[in-house]
Amino acid sequence: MNTQSNAMPESFDTQGIAPAPMSATQPMYWSIRRELWENRSIYIAPLAVAAVTLFGFLIATMGYAMSVSNLAQRRAALEGPYSFAAGVIMATTFVVGVFYSLDALHGERRDRSILFWKSLPVSDLTAVLSKVSIPLVVLPLLTVVVVVATQLIMLLLSSAVLMGSGLSVATLWTPAFRMSLMLLYHIVTVHVLWHAPIYGWLLLVSGWARRAAFLWAALPPLAICAVEKIAFNTTHFAALLGYRFMGGAEALTAPGSFPIDPMTHLTPGKFLSTPGLWMGLAVAAALLAAAVRLRRFQGPI
């Protein structure tokens, strides 16, 4: 890419002629890499939690499960922790994603480095998209990989224990593939598509707030809930927020329509026909557009 090195004393050529060719995706790629350099917790946190989970499981397999003499109970003890491990890792990456998003457009203004980023030919759109791709692409992918790897190690450990006890391991491995598929489906539907407006909101607040981004992100929605409750004695806004975070009560009472539980059936048709999904994505796009526009005007704080 340094094709220009010998063309230094070039004359003032006409503007508008593109300099050295550079792929359009390259600034995006390097912007995402730089987010990972800066925020190493993005991959350290889920890996650390996975290690702790495996350590706990190791104690369980070596200690507790072996101490159970009833073989059926031993099998139950070994099969139980899979979804729990997945849940803990998913919760970790969710928390990491929330705090990352709250700091993404705030930290660069606080440490004045925004002046350095803006001195390079990277558009505000690329900058904001690279930041939102952390909670919406990088973290979900990482979650799937870490959870599947963790469960695989757990499977190997429990298989060893079961075989040692003379039990069949077939029942343990049969649902493994389906479990991973369910996990992927759950991550894509809930953690990416359904939660997208949450990250859009957090990024917008982080680009706007001068300090205490967390409070600005959390308090206005709570205030709206409180005012609505006091003024009209209704809880529509609270229900809306709950629906966004948890999928909502009506979705839970109609099993299968909303994949809140990683072990639900695959019902993409029902999911895709949920109006809340498309409204959420439209809101996310609007919030991100606002965050891009905001970054143009923002300097250091």
């Binding site: 090195s5 390259q26 480095s113 990277v122």
Partner: protein, 291 residues
Amino acid sequence: MTVIEARGLRKAFGTTIALDSVNFRVEEGRILGLIGPNGAGKTTALNAMLGLIPYQGELRVLGRDPWSEREQLMRDVCFIADVAVLPRWMRVSQALDYVAGVHPRFDRAKAEGFLAKTTIQHASKVRELSKGMVTQLHLALVMAIDAKLLVLDEPTLGLDILYRKQFYDSLLNDYYDRSRTIVVTTHQVEDVQHVLTDLMFINRGRIVLDCSMEEFEARYVEVMVHPERVTAARALKPIHERQVLGRSILLFDRVDRQQLAGFGDARTPSISDLFVAVMGNQAGQAPGAIR
């Protein structure tokens, strides 16, 4: 070729007018020093040129509108907006990787060559470097970009004299050629006196002086006047007068050098002396407009 052209450039923050309809033009190959007191509007002018803030009036940088075409403009324009804006968590090697990744005109080998002359290690993080070294790193990154316009806003603030001298030396020796244009603001005017080709004073959002350094040297004469000649010298309407060790030093604008030589030692004033004179007059302390 005109690199920067401003006509009626205006910017207000609330009721404060940071730039009051200024007009100026910077030609290719010039090194312009933008000098002014704090809050004069220097940084606002630079930010407008760099497309960092919206403005009123007309402004073209390299033929582009900086606000609406900032991304394209940044391929040909480099800036050091302040000392210590490099992210503190970044490693030197990461900074090289990143700039090489996003900037089509960055020459990595050149940057590494500049860094090799310093004591900066590739594995170091920015937070581990001294302020002077961070500036060296930033300058190495910027000088390796084949840009047409380089904008420096207080690039040497807080650095000791060795680093400051080295900064401008590298800029002139390793970077500047007649096809590049540099705009610099600084309070350390004595550092840039022999670097600049053009000089602009700005105060309260207005340009109060705009001349080339040749013009500056031709126009302004400072005379340390013999005590018995002070009254005669004052009759020639100096724009400023100050006392040093009991002697009067008078600063003249557009007065014949031969005529002044008779009053005492005549020499070209330093930019800072002229600055004090002009800004003092601006504050209404002495009569005589500068232009």
